[in-house]
């Protein structure tokens, strides 16, 4: 149950990794978070060459959409139920070179398409704070492995809050950097223009160290930024003197849960005490209400093309057919879950030549307007904050949310702005409602990871909720 610094101080990777493996096996019987346990033996044998690495000897988990050479990588889908990659994702290489040890590939909504983790081929992932509740998704497996104390770090991916929402539900840090800061090469995609590699830690200092490990230009990803890796951890500074923080009032107005409102008010008061200037920021309500439909069109359109490679011909689970077309269609029909097939239909529909103007291209325009509005909102402040969700983690069977309410459209989905814009955005613990965690989200200006981490550290100090863990018995 240590943070990065404590792992380093103890300097016993073999013991740390063995404990983590043991904990993972035990926790998994309750949480169903793991798709594949990874044998750490070989990695430990070669660990010496990475001595001095920033994550030396630290056991970690990877979301199962991160390609790992020689290790089953399913992306949570039946169609990749037998897929063993021939190559490592860039971040798998970077983490190995930093000395991290992968002990598990974690569960996700099928191809990251979902916010509940209920669509994973291996079944739902359970929330360690209440096993009758969902982990959130799509990076649910990674979130609960960090929250339950198994590993201090896990990779996720965030296409429409898929790291920042489960971070809120599980009382941990979920950091999504600027688009292009971390290479996507080797991450099985959902929607390319929205996909971000993101990650979970239990405190902001660990997040800063991890970001140093993961960042940097990768020539194999043309959307990766040509910017140097900065010394995020050593430059961490929680001082709020002279800092201006905006409160996104549209979200607060949409939240009906008084406990969450109280936690947030409490936090704001403490940030003021620490010297921050607090201002109300109101964004265009219509644009915020349009986030979800805009997201659905763009994400599903990109997804339907991104997953056209999954035809059962060259890899993955192949089903029989008389002709090649039949093989492709049988493999896809058997290989994808119902939700995924629905999304592909929506995506294709939006791309039909007769629909593009009123759906796909319109969604692109609305996306630009939303990003413009967010840019304007951030123009005079250092960061924008709001509760990361309208409530605690829902029950697994809960379908009561009115999907046309502003609570749902805005409070539950505004964080997608971070994916539309690519701006850095982090969720961290804000408090507990009846023992269940709720988070606060912070979004900052493009490329400005340092301010994001600094303000997040200030929030962490204000709440005193670093290193939160909920073990499962």
């Amino acid at each position: 149950m240590m943070n990065f610094t404590q792992y380093k101080a103890k300097n016993n990777p073999v013991e740390a990794v063995n404990l983590a493996v043991e904990a993972a096996m035990k926790a998994n019987t309750k949480l169903n978070a793991v798709v594949t346990m990874v044998d750490p033996g070989e990695q430990l044998n070669r660990l010496d060459q990475y001595a001095g690495g920033k994550m030396f000897g630290i056991p970690i988990a990877l979301k199962d959409n991160v390609n790992t050479s020689g290790v089953l990588t399913t992306a949570g889908s039946r169609i990749l139920g037998n897929y063993v990659p021939q190559y490592d994702a860039t971040i798998a290489e970077k983490l190995r070179e930093a000395g991290a040890i992968v002990i598990a590939k974690s569960s996700l909504d099928e191809f990251g398409m979902g916010g509940s983790n209920l669509s994973a081929a291996t079944g739902p992932v359970y929330n360690p704070y209440d096993l009758s509740r969902m982990s959130g998704g799509s990076s649910g497996g990674s979130a609960v492995l960090v929250a339950s104390g198994v590993v201090p770090f896990a990779i996720g991916s965030d296409t429409g809050d898929s790291v920042r929402k489960p971070a809120s539900y599980n009382g941990i840090v979920g950091y999504k950097p600027t688009y292009g800061r971390i290479s996507r090469y080797g991450i099985i995609p959902y929607a390319s223009s929205l996909d971000h590699v993101a990650f979970f830690t239990r405190n902001i200092t660990d997040a800063a160290i991890a970001l140093e490990v993961l960042s940097g230009r990768d020539d194999r990803d043309m959307t990766s930024l040509q910017l140097p890796v900065e010394d995020y951890a050593s430059l961490l500074n929680p001082s709020l003197e002279g800092k201006k923080i905006g409160i996104l009032t549209n979200v607060l107005k949409a939240i009906t849960n008084p406990e969450i409102q109280a936690h947030f008010a409490n936090l704001v008061a403490r940030l003021k005490e620490q010297g921050a200037t607090i201002v109300d920021i109101e964004m265009n309500q219509d644009l915020l209400s349009a986030i979800l439909p805009t997201y659905y069109i763009i994400a599903n359109a990109e997804a339907t093309a991104n997953h056209s490679n999954l035809d059962g011909l060259r890899f993955g689970v192949q089903k029989d057919g008389k002709e090649i077309d039949e093989v492709m269609s049988a493999s896809r029909t058997a290989g994808f879950g119902k939700q995924i097939r629905k999304r592909f239909v929506i995506g294709s529909y939006a791309l039909f030549v007769e629909n593009q103007d009123k759906l796909f291209r319109k969604a692109q325009k609305v996306r630009r307007l939303i990003v413009e509005d967010l840019k304007h909102a951030l123009s005079d402040i250092d960061g924008l904050i709001a509760p990361a969700s309208a409530g605690v983690a829902p029950k697994l069977t809960d379908t009561s949310m009115d999907q046309l309410s502003s609570t749902y459209l805005i409070a539950e989905n505004y964080m997608v702005m971070g994916n539309f814009s690519g701006y850095p955005s982090v969720t961290l613990p804000m408090g507990y409602c009846d023992g269940l965690p709720v988070g606060v989200n912070l979004t900052c200006k493009l490329y400005d990871e340092q301010t994001t981490l600094n303000l997040a550290l200030a929030i962490e100090q204000a709440t005193g909720l670093a290193d939160q863990i909920k073990e499962v018995a």
Partner: protein, 475 residues
């Protein structure tokens, strides 16, 4: 009725690059199947495209010489369709913003030069190759991802001759630029011909068919002629031409229906999210254009200016490899006409002049130039040169061959004189005999000199030099 033929041509041309359009896998022809592929070409999950800068450079070269307006913002789109030869399930192409648009090229016709407008040139990636057997389909992904440009003409051609001239012109230009191998038989240059007929004087276009599978210039010619005949017969009978894709059948010498076009396929194009728009630096583009290689027309002009005949200049220019070789020869000799004669008349009889740059060819331009210089200075005769050439092709030096075969006449007075002085010194008795009136002694001495020079001494010169030297030694 009299019809006017309207022809537009789409050319797919594989670019000459070391690696593929979006992956670092090598581009090679005829390697073992599926040996030049990596995870990107096979579209394994999680792979991303990385644009080949050299392919963009090649496309820019082609745009420049085809007078196309170059879009300084390079953008790509996805063309979505399922097919076994398309691993990703979409092709990355440039649907919305081609790198080049609105260009033109001038082609020779029997009635003079004609301008053919070019609508666009865009970059894309090639597909895999499929091999259909009785019950199986085999796929070779070596070709998958090979860089391509597609060049689309306006419907400006009016007969087979013009169509062939257009393709020939583009082939020649692209080959000279080093942009492509342009081998139609190997598929590195592929043509789709769109053809329709309309009554003479009509402005409206008739229904067109598209002919694929044309792997030689001659096939283009005969296929177009066959299709004109087929369409005009239909129209004469009052029947309609059906919009369709057809292929030329080499054996039947006619076009055969491949598939009807019942409404066009919706490829659901959208901008490629994994390749951000790339701004081309003006300096880079300018530098590429400034360093374009010499094109066929310029080269022909240059040949005419150094005294070659129209015929020689034309023949040389038509074969770039031979012409490059000729230019190399000219670095070592000023005998432009003799060199041209040898390149045009003699080399094709003994060498594959399409592949002079290949490692197999051991004939160097320097050796051939030495031989040509030798002919000019009288070291060897033209007739002897023909005996020398096969040895040069084996890789021997000109000097060595001439020496070894004893073809070279030693006509150097100084060199000969040294041998003569030595010989007379050794043969003192013969010198005495000569002065005693024994004429036979002169013949003997000449024989000795020839022996020493291994027969290469110029006999007449030797004889007169010996006589001179003997006179000096008169007792």
């Amino acid at each position: 009725m009299n019809y006017e033929t309207v022809i537009g041509i789409e050319i797919h041309c594989e670019l000459k690059t070391a690696t593929k359009m979006f992956s670092p896998a090598p581009v090679t022809f005829a390697k073992r199947p599926n040996s030049c592929v990596n995870e990107i070409d096979l579209a394994h999950p999680g792979t991303l495209p990385s644009l080949n800068k050299n392919a963009v450079k090649q496309a820019i070269k082609a745009c420049a010489v085809l007078n196309l307006e170059i879009d300084p913002l390079v953008r790509f789109d996805r063309k979505n369709y399922y097919y076994p030869d398309l691993a990703k399930g979409y092709q990355i192409t440039q649907q919305f913003h081609p790198i080049g648009k609105d260009g033109h090229v001038s082609i020779p016709t029997s009635t003079g030069e004609k301008i053919v407008r070019i609508n666009r040139l865009h970059m894309e990636e090639d597909t895999a190759k499929q091999f259909h057997y009785n019950t199986e389909t085999w796929i070779d992904y070596n070709r998958a991802g090979t860089p391509l440009v597609e060049i689309v003409s306006e419907p400006d051609m009016r007969n087979a001759e013009e169509a062939v001239a257009y393709v020939e012109k583009l082939r020649s230009i692209l080959y000279y630029l080093g942009v492509s191998d342009v081998k139609m038989e190997e598929g590195s240059l592929r043509c789709d011909i769109n053809i329709s007929l309309r009554p003479v004087g009509s402005e409206a276009y008739g229904v067109k068919t598209e002919i694929k599978n044309l792997n030689s210039l001659n096939n283009i010619k005969v296929a177009i002629e066959a299709e004109i005949k087929r369409q005009s017969e239909l129209l004469d009978k009052g029947e309609a031409v059906e919009q369709a894709t057809r292929r030329y059948d080499d054996v039947a010498k006619t076009t055969i229906l491949m598939r009807k076009k019942e409404g066009s396929v919706d490829y659901k194009y959208f901008p490629e999210p994994n390749i951000p728009p790339i701004r081309l630096s003006k300096e880079w583009v300018d530098e590429i254009i400034a360093t374009l290689p010499e094109l066929p027309e310029a080269r022909k002009e240059r040949y005419l200016s150094i005294g070659l005949s129209e015929y020689d200049a034309t023949v040389l220019t038509q074969n770039k490899d031979l012409s490059d070789f000729y230019d190399e020869i000219l670095k070592h000799t000023d005998q432009t006409k003799i060199a041209a004669n040898w390149c045009i008349s003699e080399l094709p009889a003994v060498l594959d002049t399409q592949h002079l740059a290949s490692a197999k060819n051991k004939l160097t331009p320097k050796n051939l130039a030495d031989m040509i210089n030798g002919i000019k200075t009288g070291t060897i005769s033209s007739k002897q040169a023909k005996d020398v050439l096969p040895h040069l092709i084996q890789g021997e030096n000109f000097e060595d061959v001439v020496n070894r075969l004893g073809l070279k006449q030693v006509s150097d007075t100084g060199e000969l004189l040294r041998v003569i002085v030595d010989t007379l010194d050794e043969q003192a008795q013969s010198v005495v005999d000569f002065h005693n009136g024994k004429d036979r002694a002169l013949g003997f001495l000449v024989g000795q000199v020839m022996k020493k020079t291994k027969g290469q001494a110029n006999p007449a010169l030797t004889s007169s030099l010996i006589t001179e030297e003997l006179m000096k030694r008169k007792p």
